[in-house]
Amino acid sequence: MTLIQEIDYGTPASKAEKTVRLVIDGNTIEVPEGTSVMRASMEAGIQVPKLCATDMVDAFGSCRLCLVEIEGRNGTPASCTTPVSEGMVVHTQTGRLKDIRRGVMELYISDHPLDCLTCAANGDCELQDMAGAVGLRDVRYGYEGDNHVKARQNGEANPRYMAKDESNPYFTYDPSKCIVCSRCVRACEEVQGTFALTIEGRGFESRVSPGMHESFMNSECVSCGACVQACPTATLTEKSVIEIGQPEHSVVTTCAYCGVGCSFKAEMRGEEVVRMVPWKDGKANRGHSCVKGRFAWGYATHQDRILNPMVREKITDPWREVSWDEAFAHVAKEFRRLQFQYGKGSIGGITSSRCTNEETFLVQKLVRAGFGNNNVDTCARVCHSPTGYGLGKAFGTSAGTQDFDSVEHTDVVILIGANPTDGHPVFASRLKKRLRAGAKLIVIDPRRIDLVRSAHVEASHHLPLRPGTNVAVLTALAHVIVTEGLFDEAFIRERCDWSEFEDWASFVADPAHSPEATEVYTGVPAEELRGAARLYARGGNGAIYYGLGVTEHSQGSTTVMAIANLAMATGNIGRPGVGVNPLRGQNNVQGACDMGSFPHELPGYRHISGTEVRDVFEKLWGVELNPEPGLRIPNMLDAAVDGTFRGIYIQGEDILQSDPDTKHVKAGLEAMECVVVHDLFLNETANYAHVFLPGSTFLEKDGTFTNAERRINRVRRVMSPKNGLADWEVTLKLAQAMGLDWSYAHPSEIMDEIAATTPSFASVTYQMLEEKGSVQWPCNEAKPDGTPVMHLDGFVRGKGKFIRTEYVATDERTGPRFPLLLTTGRILSQYNVGAQTRRTENVAWHGEDRLEIHPHDAEQRGIHQDDWVKLASRSGETALRATITERVAPGVVYTTFHHPGTQANVITTDFTDWATNCPEYKVTAVQVSPSNGPTAWQQDYEAQATRSRRIATEDALEPAE
């Protein structure tokens, strides 16, 4: 194993199709027009010395090291800012160039500390490399004059010296090592799009400054790590590198946080992670990252991890550590007992959207083939199940239509119920880059999310709808498109059923659906909505991106259909730059759904009632499959309370914290006789478990994740599982203990089984992923290279289907007792229930859930900033501290659900989407009042959790030595 060295071409690639030929140091090379001389040289294998250039940002031309001579031109132009031209003859190394470069390096080094041996960047420093490359042997200016290096000089404090900024938990800023190449400033602007950094001062005084001469932690910095990656010296350095030293080998793998699915190089020393660096060739992230994937991996070695299996008879007992064999035997015995006693359908399983495709496949196989029922579900139930249903109905397949690169061709983006700068930050950066290049943005969201207006980005329209009125707003957009004749008739006639369109068009054209009529209850000004509709329909390539603000409603599925209608009506499907793009929450939600995690369908979205499909699996697995749909998660909990559902195997999901109406979830879990939790930590659900099977992290196993763009990415093991077994091995051994004749030596064999049974994965093998890096399904004989954009020539279902979308108000209404609407969401630094991110330094940004409330609502209730407030709904009540902000509209409050202490889900109700039972997290009628601190319920919860987490120590039983 070696350290993967990515070639830095100095400037970004040109996308021009036309090529030009030139000669560099005697080598003839052909490159796309618009390529820089520097990049062309590197492509010819000639590295021109450079400091301020790197291919993640545009050329800047400030370091004066990359100068070249070009025949027929005067002077020594910078190769990074000089584009190639036909017939150009370039010399990169002449006596004149050597002298200039050495002179420049002398100046740099005269104001740089000479502590190379003890410097964290030793071995990975471009300044050091360039000093070597230009043959610097002497610094004629000495080191005694004005400088930024020495804290004290001539017995006095040096006013130019600035101490290290160590405020960020993950990296340090050491101004004394800065060469002011401004790569960090440009990375923050061009790659991340936050504009947190600048160069303050002029001439010798200039230096990098976060915000207005603030510390990194107090500035707008979002800790994405792009600046650290861009820095050529030790000025910006990962604290882990400072602590451990330089890595010696690296392995490319996939981030286990959000659905963007960024590729990273895990840079290692032995089995210790030194740092995670985004991989330039990663097709989802193109070399970018966010604070979670880049830095928040410390949970993998956190002391809270449970490494031994544990069993207990009652949930009030302390845990007892047992061997793996004992744990498997216990679960097998209990599950068989329950099935004997209460029927075959009395047990089930939940697959994890955080685990690999292979692991998910095995869990659903265990349920269907081993338990003999279809009681398997996944956390997509509570997030994107309406996407599966809605897009399946409209297009014939349950997936986003585009790849992330598509956004580079988009002219108008509609963003609905998603907050990408927090939830999908790397995609947000790519979106912002496109917006800065001129694309237009329409935001449909009750909150004024960052993208509505932030540095160099401003939405053309923000439709601040009342929570729960999505369908009315989208149907009103359709009304404008139809009644103003903005639809794409040619596309509809060719790709959809014209009579279905006419039926739908007459439905949406009803004046009751007009923006003017719906404004009364949606709260969206009609004129603003009309403007948005016109822009989307006629603004060029229109793409819709949406999140859980669409799906987590009682009309979630209807909203997804309304989105599909809009895209079809305007012809925005089937080419780069357009489409319908669900932003998936967890790393492998797409994959978990693909792998047959839903109770009604086998892998590849094929209904369990289909004889032919069942036949494929029955032959291979040697069992008869049950043709009836199984229980969904909310149904399992209901059935548990009714007494017909008694045991469950939950892999990597914390339903007690993440699912709505905590009290109901608790009642369901308490009613079961054998709850098996398979997780990294004793999560909240484990408080009600009888068996705990320790899990492994993404760093400890092989497999694949499928991201929101259907991209199948490899996950590669970089360290041994601390618990002894990778998660797929745990399921395998559990199946074996239950008498199933399974044998898999490696996850690649599971993928082979997936490919053999699932047409959209037919050509996928680990060898292929090794060769191609990644591939987007469908990938089969018809599409050997995968499918970046779907529905190119026709919809998967044949004709696209227009479906009427009648707005039905949710029954969750505000009234005198609960006058405010609560909506929930996420924050950048935390992930989902926070089980991982709370166990990292990310708590520095978000140590507690806060209630966002508008100043008017706060004032009426006598609530001040940071006050404790009680949040109550008809389901329950909790207390947390308030943040007063105009980001939320009057009448709306907002919180996150990252911390178990808050348990925001004790507030949410049991209303669900009509089609899929996806919970209505986004709308709860609440009251907010001043409070002194945590409620009695929170205190009881905390006490129960602490009691439940006790582990009996063996030592007490052993004789003293």
Partner: protein
């Protein structure tokens, strides 16, 4: 699940299909319940509806004859 919740969820499905073209309404409700409700939920649906159709939307009642009646006893699926 509680009879009220079951009735509520069945009616929610009917509410969606009420806005669909008339020919697809009853078929749509029945098909949806057949596809997504596990047998014990359908058993419970019939247990309640066989006694009294009160509280169910007419479209749910009309769809009943097209909904597959589970043969096996409760919990055995």
């Amino acid at each position: 699940m509680s009879p009220d919740k079951l009735r509520y969820q069945a009616n929610q499905i009917a509410t969606f299909f009420a806005s669909q073209p008339e020919a697809e309404q009853i078929e749509g409700v029945a098909d949806h319940i057949n596809k997504f409700w596990d047998p014990r939920m359908r058993t419970q649906l019939f247990e309640i509806a066989d006694q009294s159709a009160e509280g169910f939307k007419p479209m749910v009642v009309a769809a009943l004859e097209k909904i597959r009646r589970p043969e096996l006893a409760k919990g055995s699926q």
